[in-house]
């Protein structure tokens, strides 16, 4: 593997990590909690896209785009529901309790999805209750416990750029990087220039002071979860298009890696998430091409985190935490 393809792959997988890391970093910065279930929202997003794209009613040319929108909206609602049901009653609880709850939510999402996909008659449920026929063109049911792929749904080969005879920039990589940049720019604008963004920054700075200034803490945190989960849906579709297999545990590995990217970049910082994600993606691709065994790639990726934290305990762009007595 030559250096150009390492760079292209690193940038595109890094962009996906960055999109996920943005969700982590927003939630952590504002709700001050590690949303372990974020990775599984990715998986739910990918499954939703998978199911929606197979719906007969959406067979038109705009079908995949509508499916993406459905996934985004559903994941945003899911994020809000998780926040409301599991985390809201733990606002004052110690961080250990919140973290354990988040792990619980993560496992719950995985196992509920596992159960739903292996149940009989899910397509009948959609057909009879929602009036949506979900199946492949040859009427083969798409539900089942087996591994899914969404590569044929996200076909971007028409966007490929052929630089030379051996080197091609895949269309998917271009789309991924572009989507990532657009998200980072939009999110920065949102956080810096809108009223809700201002509320988010103030809640992140000092929750009780923000409350005294009349900011609705619960609403701010709910919006944060909605945005983070919507980003997770986009990342999930891109991640599975890359291609990765779609199984109920798909989300955990990119989830953990993106969290590590967010920590490397300095959790709570939007540019930090971008830098951390790209760095991690690049290191991963480089070590995959250099090392003799693929198992060692993870060891290198995780070592980056430990090395960064040893020298900068709050990440590359993180703020220094002052301790209050």
């Amino acid at each position: 593997m030559d250096i150009m393809s390492v760079i292209i792959n690193g940038l595109s997988i890094g962009s996906i990590y960055a999109i996920i890391a943005l969700g982590y970093t927003m939630v952590y910065g504002i709700a001050k909690m590690l949303n372990f279930a974020h990775g599984d929202v990715i998986m739910v997003g990918a499954y939703t896209f998978f199911a929606a794209a197979h719906a007969r009613n959406l067979n038109g040319p705009a079908g995949p785009l509508i499916a993406v929108l459905i996934a985004i909206v559903l994941c945003a609602l899911l994020g809000m529901a998780i926040e409301f049901l599991a985390y809201r009653s733990l606002r004052q609880a110690p961080s250990l309790a919140v973290l354990i709850t988040a792990i619980g939510v993560s496992y719950l999402l995985q196992n509920v999805m596992q159960t739903v996909m292996s149940l009989d008659g899910v397509d009948r449920f959609f057909k009879n209750v929602l009036g949506v026929v979900i199946s492949e063109n040859n009427d083969k049911p798409i539900f089942g416990a087996d591994t899914k792929m969404i590569t044929d749904l996200v076909n971007m080969q028409s966007l490929d750029i052929h630089l030379s005879e051996t080197l091609t920039i895949p269309g998917l990589a271009i789309v991924t990087i572009a989507v990532n940049l657009v998200i980072v720019v939009l999110l920065s604008l949102f956080v810096n220039y809108t009223k809700m963004g201002k509320a988010m920054r103030s809640v992140s700075e000092d929750r009780s002071a923000a409350q005294l200034m009349g900011i609705n803490i619960n609403r701010t945190i709910t919006v944060t979860f909605a945005i983070g989960s919507a980003l997770a849906a986009i990342a999930g579709i891109l991640y599975c298009a890359f291609p990765h297999e779609l199984v109920p545990t798909t989300g955990s590995i990119p989830g953990i890696k993106a969290f590590i990217a967010a920590v490397i970049g300095g959790i709570g910082s939007i540019p930090g998430a971008l830098i951390g994600g790209l760095l991690l993606g690049f290191v991963e691709q480089l070590s995959r091409s250099v090392l003799p065994v693929t198992e060692l790639t993870d060891a290198v990726v995780y070592s980056v985190l430990i090395i960064v934290l040893l020298f900068r305990p709050t990440g590359l762009l993180g703020k220094k935490i002052r301790e209050k007595v």
Partner: protein
């Protein structure tokens, strides 16, 4: 001896059966007795001993026989994780990493001893195997602890996870073989398997399953393994109880309850967290080696899922509760094995257990309900604090109790929780300083003591003796806490809230009275 605020408490106890200390000793003894009784019963049952004939339980399935050793291994793993999560208050998501170190080391050492050196005695070779596995896991735990314990909270959790993943991926590329052609020799290969040739036995085979341990020839010597597993559980209980009841253990608990308060009491926080972390790593290594008695595991199994499974055992058993951990581990191990429903939806049930345990135990309404429920079994505390001049607050607090008359003083919740965190350490300090203070009170001048020692009260002595005098505010706080502690054993923060409410009510009543008298006065004027 003069005090600005001598604060004493009064409490009504509905039932007072045991002092906290006696209760703790009872708890420990009960844990040991239960474990021993369970072992004697099960051992007899599993080996078809004399009791099984009486109880008519001859027919034991092969499957049931296999439960004992893994349950013991998981109990050891869960109790040791409880040491980190429950006692030192740091969430470790990398426990499986230490277990995998013990697992791999165990396989290598046991096979080297039995096949390489021809050791016949299974007890001896297992003991050496467990010791070496624990030692190696402890060393790795120490190395991991250096970067990890510098971090706090969520960062710490994620780095332990990262470390476990690194250990996992390194072990997946690790190959070890035993060469017995000319003496016993171990051959290593990393990261690709380059070991081949005749006369070698593969011990660790990278990502695939490895050779089991605890075997005699080719068959597993189960009765011996039962005894070894039981011994390991007892060892774990001894280590954990001794550690948590020692001075070090109290220091560890104080770093958990309030890091800043503990630090200001002169406790080296990182060192104490390291002690808990390394002890847990050693025990986890041993439990990993015990799991290696069957070749059902491979390095990839020691992943986040396994760490979380152990965490579920700990959370369900109760953070800091050893006996609860043993019960929950046993129950959560057997249930999925025996119930078909549990087997299919095991992880679903675990997830719900985690969420509900946390949400319910942290919801104020439910917490209050639980407190009212458990208080039926516990002795009840309801403390009212009174401020009053007192001659001798510490030693004579009970005397002063008798003539509590003046106004109640509310201790800030924060102050009380600070003191509560510092209390375990204070106990030690008091034990050290007490003889000196008694001497001073009796007018005996200690050789190198301050000439004004007589004028100083015991608290000043305690803290100046350490070379770091405290400011008046913290002195007062600690006085309050120590007195309450001395008088009532443990203090519950909830009681202070209740007391605050009562004070507020008193205030309102007082105001009403004032208003009434004011009006009257006004009318007269």
């Amino acid at each position: 001896m003069q005090y600005d605020h001598a604060v004493i408490g009064q409490m009504s106890r509905s039932r007072r059966s045991f002092s906290p200390k006696a209760r703790h000793i009872l708890y420990k003894t009960a844990t040991f007795l239960l474990v021993t009784a369970a072992f004697v019963f099960l051992y007899d049952w599993l080996t078809q001993g004399p009791l099984s004939g009486i109880l008519n339980m001859e027919d034991i399935s092969r499957k049931t026989k296999g439960y004992f050793v893994p349950i013991c291994a998981w109990v050891v793993a869960a109790v040791s994780l409880n040491l980190v999560v429950g006692f030192s208050g740091e969430l470790s998501l990398g426990h499986a990493g230490f277990m995998s170190i013990g697992y791999s080391t165990g396989i290598v050492v046991y096979n080297l001893l039995t096949k390489g050196y021809g050791w016949e005695n299974i007890y001896l070779s297992m003991a050496v195997t467990l010791a070496v596995s624990g030692l190696l896991a402890g060393i790795v735990g120490f190395l991991v602890g250096i970067p990890v314990l510098r971090l706090r909270g969520d960062y710490l959790a994620i780095v332990t996870l990262a470390c476990a993943e690194i250990i996992k991926s390194l072990l997946q590329c690790f190959y070890v073989a035993l060469d017995t052609s000319e003496g016993a020799k171990l051959l290593f290969a990393f990261p690709k398997n380059t070991l081949n040739g005749s006369g070698i036995t593969m011990l660790l085979k990278g990502p695939t399953a490895s050779a089991p341990i605890g075997t005699k020839g080719t068959t597993t010597d189960l009765p011996a393994l039962y005894i070894i597993s039981f011994a390991l559980v007892i060892l774990t209980l001894l280590v954990v109880f001794n550690l948590t009841d020692s001075r070090t253990g109290r220091a560890i608990k104080s770093t958990r309850d309030n890091r800043i308060a503990a630090e200001s009491m002169g406790i080296p926080v990182t060192r104490h967290k390291m002690i808990a972390f390394v002890t847990a790593a050693v025990l986890a290594g041993m439990s990993g080696a015990l799991l290696a008695n069957k070749s059902t595991y491979q390095p990839a199994n020691f992943n986040l899922d396994m760490s979380i499974m152990v965490l579920v055992y700990v959370v369900l058993g109760g953070l800091g509760n050893v006996m609860g951990t043993i019960f929950s581990t046993t129950a959560l191990y057997i249930l999925p094995e025996e119930l078909r429903f549990m087997k299919d939806y095991r992880m679903l049930v675990y997830a719900l257990v985690l969420i509900f345990a946390m949400v319910l135990s942290n919801n104020p309404v439910i917490k209050r309900w639980f407190t009212s429920f458990t208080s039926l079994f516990r002795r009840k505390h309801s403390i009212t604090l009174f401020a009053e001049e007192s001659r001798n607050a510490y030693a004579g607090s009970k005397d002063v109790l008798a003539d509590r008359t003046s106004e109640p003083l509310v201790v800030e919740e924060e102050a009380l929780s600070d003191t509560k965190a510092a209390l375990p350490v204070l106990e030690d300090r008091v034990a050290e300083a007490e003889p000196a203070a008694v001497d001073a009170e009796a007018g005996i001048q200690p050789a190198a003591a301050d000439t004004k020692a007589e004028d100083k009260d015991i608290f000043t002595m305690l803290y100046t003796a350490d070379g770091t005098p405290l400011d008046e505010e913290s002195m007062r706080r600690i006085q309050v806490g120590l007195m309450l502690y001395d008088a009532y054993g443990d203090i519950e923060i909830g009681d202070v809230t209740e007391m605050k409410q009562r004070k507020e009510e008193n205030k309102k009543k007082g105001r009403k009275k004032d208003k009434k008298s004011g009006k009257k006065g006004g009318g007269k004027a």
